[in-house]
Assembly symmetry: C2
């Protein structure tokens, strides 16, 4: 393995992903003694005033950033989106009820599959027949007033598509969203959703903590009549303010720092401006390549988080990845299920990395046969 | 809040708890660039060769330390012991079957409660009638050849008791153990257990990762015939080597460093020697106090991890805690459900802290009415 410094590497990985250097520096500086305690954050009791304050600060920063209504709860859980795929229907899909899932990629399919064990999980829209290259239009959605909820995946990391609107469905049908890969990348009207979940390891922090934002009074009313292990009940975590059991304290701490970093940068409007500029630059490099690079997703559904494209042959893609790696552009391989190239542009990725990438794309296009250094 | 340095504070908290300073220094030094990658461990993909190696190294260190048989799997899961309380019966208790739970404290009670939703969870021994002050004797155990498994909690953090033997039950009855608070504190014959689980936040690392050690071929044979969400199936995690979904990569990394630290110290025999010396010193301070301090647990069942004792009145206990805190002895309050004093002596707690504590206990006993500084 070559030894690289932080300055040499541009990490376009899909998650766990790049974090702001300022946040990592803070973590490093706090590592042996947090806030004058003489203890690492990792060593502090989750029942201590120090941790309570830390978690409250993280919640406040997220509430401010996302404009979360006061009656919504913020939970820090474990198990990632994959665990939410089970917890959502366990808690919210009555045994004799139904829920709608809009299929926009592999992760939404998995979410629906897990729901099928708990009730009737039906397709409320899908673009599978066109390889998920587009987000369904509103008139293609098949919602029902009988749906306990309709579930969407706001950003699809594998194919590289993103919802650029909240689907137009009656407000009496609760919306549930997996925002794992685009939460905090842009402003969002949280009040349009009854429950939002997101694994932290893309825009929010390290792997190992899952953010759940939920309309707590609604959750209580909507709870499915089913025996659920205590640890999987949202209501238990709402009541215990995420400390029913020991929360992943260190990961919550980093999420708090990242949220405070976003606020300092100018909040989610500024994040959106930057993310559009970054993604715009890479999409332009694709669109201006005379077909050398071919975008996977229809322009109207393109993600500003995960830009996906193909080259003419797998061999050329392999050469692209190898030469990119040699110049410090890492994490560009598409998901193992689909191949191709994927450029993940989460909040912590600076515009300068995109400039380096686009220069490389231009260079590679002109001399695809050159050997890597 | 006063500002303390690391040298001034002795952290006797019950978890999240003290970690070895050498490990924290390593984490700090790696924080911005791990192993020459130019990326923090938190930023590295869980599908990368770098992470695969890191996890393999952590597994190897644990396998060596604990003497884990080759056919056992090591899993890094999420959700702590509380999630295992549900996953164990979900996976292993057939709907028409039964399992035995030996009750030795609040956590074992919770484990049994969660099992009751999945089959017949019955008491296979209990010392609840004597306030859990003793671990049941072998002739007090009520196991059955019909038990899908018998569950024990090897160390009871709240009351402060510990199993100092593996219960004598027929080897055809699978033993399952919650070792959250004493794993790696002493050598253990892993082959006597079919499944061991432990939240990391006491002896192994930060909160947010749960170690599961299981006899994988047995697990497959014993799997309860029940529909289980994918994420809660042990078999799924065994097959995917803990990367079915994104594991808590940073926490796994710290666990690996802690395991390597234990090996360097001389392994589990040395951990046991130190833990006995530390606990022995504190128990002696209790026993030699002419009844000023009163141990909670019968001597034969005393824990070397959590030493619990009472003072004559709650007011005296409050004064003890306050004065202790003032001299940098923190985390000594008993669990909120029982009160009193609890001294947690996990592997990372050095003998020198116990010396400071015992000197304080002696001083407090002589001048209980002195004001704190």
């Amino acid at each position: 393995m070559p030894t690289n410094t932080r300055e040499q590497v541009c990490n376009f990985g899909a998650g766990p992903a790049a974090l702001p250097t300022e946040v990592l520096e803070q973590v490093r500086d706090d590592l042996l003694s947090y806030a004058g305690t003489g203890m690492s954050v990792m060593e502090v009791s989750h029942r201590s005033a120090v941790y309570e304050q830390l978690q409250a600060d993280a919640e406040t920063a997220l509430r401010t950033l996302l404009g979360i209504p006061a009656h919504y709860s913020i939970l820090f859980l474990q198990g990632g989106a994959s665990q939410q795929f089970a917890m959502v229907p366990m808690n919210l899909l009555p045994p004799d009820g139904q829920a709608g899932y809009v299929l926009t990629g592999s992760w939404s399919e998995k979410a629906m599959q897990e729901a099928q064990a708990f009730g009737r999980a039906r397709i409320a829209g899908s673009s599978k027949d066109i390889g998920y290259r587009q987000i369904p239009m509103d008139d293609e959605l098949d919602f029902s007033l009988d749906d306990a909820y309709v579930h969407i995946t706001t950003n699809n990391t594998i194919v590289g598509s993103q919802w650029h609107r909240v689907p137009e469905i009656p407000r009496s049908i609760p919306l549930v969203a997996d925002m794992s890969s685009d939460i905090c990348s842009r402003p969002v009207d949280v009040s349009r959703f009854r429950l939002i979940y997101a694994g932290a390891q893309k825009n929010l922090g390290p792997a190992g903590v899952t953010l759940v934002i939920c309309d707590a009074p609604w959750l209580e009313r909507a709870a499915a009549n089913r025996e659920i292990p205590t640890i999987f009940r949202y209501g238990v975590h709402v009541k215990a303010r995420s400390t029913y059991n020991t929360p992943p304290t260190f990961a919550v701490y980093v999420v708090g720092l990242v949220a405070q970093w976003m606020l300092k940068q100018g909040g989610l409007a500024e994040m959106e401006r930057r993310n559009r500029a970054k993604a715009g630059m890479v999409y332009t490099a694709i669109d201006d390549s005379d077909g050398f690079y071919e975008g996977v997703v229809e322009p109207t559904s393109r993600s500003s988080m995960n830009v996906t494209f193909r080259l003419r042959t797998p061999a050329l893609e392999a050469a692209f990845l190898e030469r990119a790696r040699a110049v410090g552009l890492v994490g560009l391989a598409g998901h193992r299920s689909v191949g191709g190239i994927r450029v993940s542009l989460y909040n912590a990725v600076p515009l300068a990395w995109c400039e380096r990438l686009c220069a490389f794309m231009d260079d590679f296009r002109r001399k695809p046969d050159a050997l890597s250094d």
